[in-house]
């Protein structure tokens, strides 16, 4: 038994038939064919599946797909201006590239979405605020230093390079 869910993903209206027990992460990766959000644990521990749901960063593995009817979702695929093909990268994406903030890249989509949510609310975060914002996003490659640098340097915060 599937439920029809109508949602806006990355600015595009999507009508999806969803089994009631499927997580939003599984729906995004399978039904919506957006594999940018990653499954690192599937139980809300690692943050690799972070997307922005109605303005708030959430672990998409902890939300049911049927819960998002009528909502607006931004995934990593929609972080840059999704209305214009070939549009420039979001400044966070550019900054991660410039600072070496991505190594294996598996946590990167979740980190970027968490950081975007932070900057939307707090355009000039402190070092600690930046670390707090990504405290639920595990990274095993970078030791976080270059990720934090990436966030602080575009926000023009104190302590930025």
């Amino acid at each position: 038994m599937k439920h029809m869910v109508s949602t806006i993903i990355n600015g595009e209206r999507r009508e999806l038939a969803i089994k009631p027990y499927r997580s939003l992460l599984d729906v995004l990766r399978n039904e919506a064919e957006l594999t940018g959000s990653k499954k690192g644990c599937d139980v809300g521990d690692c943050g690799a599946c972070t997307v922005i749901l109605d303005g708030k960063p959430i672990n998409s593995c902890l939300v049911l797909g049927v819960e998002v009817d009528g909502s607006e979702i931004t995934t990593i695929e929609g972080l840059a201006d999704h209305t214009a093909p070939g549009a420039p990268l979001h400044p966070l994406q550019e900054s991660i590239l410039q600072h070496g903030g991505a190594q294996c890249g598996f946590c990167t989509p979740g980190i970027l979405m968490a950081a975007k949510a932070l900057l939307d609310e707090t355009p000039r975060p402190t070092d600690e605020e930046a670390r707090f914002a990504i405290a639920g996003n595990l990274c095993r490659c970078t030791g976080y230093t270059k990720i934090v640098e990436s966030i602080l340097s575009i926000s023009g915060s104190e302590g930025a390079l």
């Binding site: 690692c46 972080l79 410039q98 890249g105 030791g143 270059k146 934090v148």
Partner: protein, 772 residues
């Protein structure tokens, strides 16, 4: 700022750098695959899907040691949507080593795809393919397994006792014969000593925790060829072992690795899913995808080997070491994996670092137990061996009233001394790192504010050092290959067998090629991770990729350059030696304003088709050593036992940094893992049942963004190695090694408590503190 990088390049270039300097190498352009990674378009193994694809999953043992008496799969097979169920009766009876190191005597073939006996809690005993993941879960519950539980053993010392349960039928549960190093006369060495130090050291069971759980997709064509998209560091080894076990030739297995989400050594091994997935796909004639859950990545994954080390050293009146005797025992779990290899490397490493070449006796053994499998993990044997050695060296310094830094500088190995591989060391890299770090932090001026203040919060500094080989020589005869093809428009396809597990391999390779050919990074596309296309490479491990693989790229690019210059020599009617290749143009010495574009040399004209130039590089170096020293400041709360690392100064001598930002990224990431190993990370196995107690990120504690200290990274290029590309040596494993002993030694300086066992949990610290 939270971090900083200092890059110090002194004068010696040994002719390894072009006369007019470097323009692409030694800079830090964004990684060439970065755009894919920041936009979510990078494809990892689990991102692939195919029409008609099924999903596969493994049924795992609920006993740590049990004979499988009978498996009834009829109910599972009857469930709608289930397409296949396989057990040991359906899998090939071919023993394999599970791990890819061909030509190496140290690998033990002791694994079946599915065995008739479970040897650890979580050992895979059956597998299902079904049309959805939900049906899979249900089907696994419907498989009825009759177990005959066997007595199990989890402690490595217990496992060696004569009455211990036998796991593989080997004597005393040993994986293989002891690894022994004997030099001189160790008894004579101890007789010469003024003081003898003896201690027991032990390390825990940290897990790599790569963010991408193991995953693969298998698809057979009707001609009998298997394509597998897998998350592996060693595509050619996956091909080799699958070919062996499935009984098909190498050219009928194609392994594709586009992007992978970390591996840190563990993804050298083939886990069970790769075999099972191929068999399920063959049986159902449909593509099959298998994704490990995070819990499975713990249970069926590979941890670091817990090791017990007994270390005895003699110290002479003159403050020099007189003898060293070591017994090292590693706990490899239910299967050998790299048990013998890490034991050998641990023994070789502990034979070096501090000069004691004359009187040395070292014995290492690896033992089977009914724990999950321990395998390869960044710092392979070195993390454990150097924790013991660096801790005891500190104890010796303190006991003899010598500053720990001075004690190290007096005894540390340097230029011409024996390295772990028994080569002569090139350069005083260790002394240089120690001195540079001490200068940066003000070692001699530091306030030893720990023990004497009245606050329960005590601070102290500690130091640890390491040296690490670039490449696995002499365990493996090193070899890498690269092919570089110039297209008719002057652009280049660089084809490498190396894997990029996230470290930046592609970028490093492209930078080296661009430097040699005088072209921009944008004119190079790197092709990798496809065993049907690229030349052979053994894989990404042993800190070998830049040193061995980068060297192959250098040779391939030079081979192509030679061909370009030969063409130009004809066209410009100028002898070869008078030509130079700069920014995509070849110039003759006597006509520096003219020259010919590389594109025009290869594009063809006047009815002549374009030329395809192919450069080829095969690189077979021996070994080079990188050196490092970490200085860590900790704050210990002696009331609750919490230890915080406040700052780290990391100094590494690596010959040449091809991409300094990528090098710093390795160092910072290694420190994160090393801090975890030292303080919080331990995969805990229940001592009665063998059941893993913390197979999740909530219960297994890695340092988070908020936990990380300030890190100052100093990259030194004092001793470029003539056998590395532009003098470069490895950096992948080095930074995880010295941070552990630096933290332990800092805890001692802060509190007077000597911790000889990792991780230093609050419970262990408080117990030791109360006893002091």
């Amino acid at each position: 700022m939270t971090t900083s990088i200092i890059l110090e390049t002194p004068s010696p270039t040994l002719g390894l750098i072009p006369e007019n300097g470097l323009s692409v190498v030694h800079t830090s352009p964004p990684r060439v695959d970065g755009l894919e990674k920041v936009t979510g378009s990078a494809l990892y193994a689990a991102d692939y899907s195919f029409p008609g694809m099924l999903y596969g999953k493994i049924l795992r043992s609920k006993h740590a040691h049990a004979r499988i008496v009978h498996i009834d799969k009829s109910k599972a097979l009857a469930l709608e949507g289930v397409k296949a169920v396989i057990t040991h009766a359906d899998a090939p009876k071919e023993l394999h080593a599970g791990s890819p190191a061909p030509r190496v005597g140290q690998m033990v073939a002791d694994q079946y795809v599915l065995a008739e006996k479970a040897r650890y809690f979580g050992d895979g005993i059956a597998a299902v393919a079904a049309v959805s993941e939900e049906i899979l879960e249900e089907a696994l519950h419907l498989i009825e397994v009759e177990y005959e539980p066997l007595p199990a053993v989890f402690d490595m010392v217990e496992a060696m006792k004569p009455d211990a349960p036998s796991i593989h039928g080997t004597e005393r549960n040993l994986v293989g014969p002891p690894f022994i190093i004997e030099r001189g006369d160790v008894e004579e060495g101890f007789a010469q000593a003024e003081t003898i130090f003896e201690g027991h050291y032990e390390t825990g069971r940290p897990v790599p925790c790569y963010m991408e759980p193991n995953a693969c997709v298998c698809r057979w064509d009707r001609g009998g060829k298997l394509t597998i998209w897998s998350s592996t560091q060693c595509a050619f080894m996956v091909r080799g072992i699958l070919s062996q076990v499935l009984g098909i030739p190498a050219h009928d297995v194609r392994v594709i690795v586009e992007h992978m989400g970390g591996g840190f050594g563990a993804k050298q091994d083939l886990y069970q899913h790769e075999f099972v997935c191929a068999i399920l796909a063959r049986e159902t004639r449909r593509p099959v995808k298998m994704e490990y859950s995070r819990k499975e990545s713990f249970l069926g994954g590979r941890s670091r080997h817990p090791i017990k080390i007994t270390l005895k050293q003699g110290l002479g009146k003159d403050g020099l070491l007189t003898a060293r005797e070591v017994r090292l025992v590693s706990n490899t779990g239910g299967y050998a994996s790299h048990g013998l290899g890490i034991t050998a490397v641990g023994c070789l490493d502990i034979a070096s670092l501090y000069r004691c070449e004359k009187n040395l006796k070292i014995e290492g053994i690896s033992v089977y137990t009914n724990n999950p499998i321990a395998g390869a993990y960044r710092g392979f044997g070195a993390v454990q061996a150097f924790f013991a050695l660096e801790t005891q060296i500190d104890e010796m310094a303190v006991a003899s009233g010598v500053d720990p830094l001075d004690f190290r500088l007096k005894n540390i190995v340097g230029d011409g001394d024996l390295s772990p591989s028994e080569h002569h060391i090139l350069g005083d890299g260790l002394a240089v790192c120690l001195r540079r770090g001490a200068e940066e932090m003000g070692w001699y001026e530091r306030k030893k504010m720990g023990r004497n203040n009245s606050s329960p919060l005590k601070r102290g500094w500690g130091v640890g050092t390491e040296m690490h080989s670039s490449g696995a020589y002499p365990d493996i005869e090193e070899q890498s290959n690269a092919i570089i093809r110039m297209n008719e428009d002057g652009t280049v396809n660089l084809i490498i067998g190396m894997a990029d597990l996230g470290t930046g391999t592609r970028t490093m390779a492209a930078q080296i090629a661009a430097e040699v050919l005088g072209i921009s990074l944008g004119e190079i596309r790197v092709i990798d991770g496809d065993t049907d296309v690229t030349p052979f490479d053994i894989g990404a491990y042993a800190s070998r990729t830049t040193y061995v693989g980068g060297g192959a790229v250098l040779k391939a690019a030079n081979h192509l350059k030679k061909q370009l210059l030969e063409l130009a020599s004809e066209r410009l009617e100028c002898p070869l030696e008078d030509l130079s290749l700069i920014e995509g143009r070849v110039f003759a010495k006597n006509a520096p304003n003219e020259g010919i574009a590389v594109r025009d040399l290869v594009s063809g004209e006047g009815g002549r088709p374009p030329r395809t130039l192919i450069g080829q590089g095969n690189n077979e170096p021996t070994v080079a050593y990188s050196f490092g020293a970490h200085f860590a400041e900790v704050e210990v709360d002696t009331e609750i036992g919490q230890i915080k690392v406040l700052q780290v100064i990391a100094v590494h001598e690596i010959g040449r940094a091809i991409n300094p930002v990528a090098v710093a990224g390795q160092i910072e990431g290694g420190i994160q893992q090393g801090i975890g190993h030292a303080l919080t990370e331990d995969f805990i196995i229940d001592k009665k049942t063998g059941r893993p107690l913390n197979p999740s990120f909530v219960d297994y504690k890695m340092p988070l963004a908020l936990d990380m200290p300030k890190i100052k990274t100093i990259i030194l290029e004092e001793f470029p190695d003539p056998s590395g590309p532009f003098g470069a040596k490895g950096i992948g494993e080095d930074p995880i090694i010295p941070i552990g002993p630096a933290i332990g030694n800092a805890v001692y300086e802060a509190t007077g408590v000597r911790m000889r066992e990792l991780p230093i949990t609050p419970e262990k610290f408080l117990k030791a503190f109360a006893e002091t």
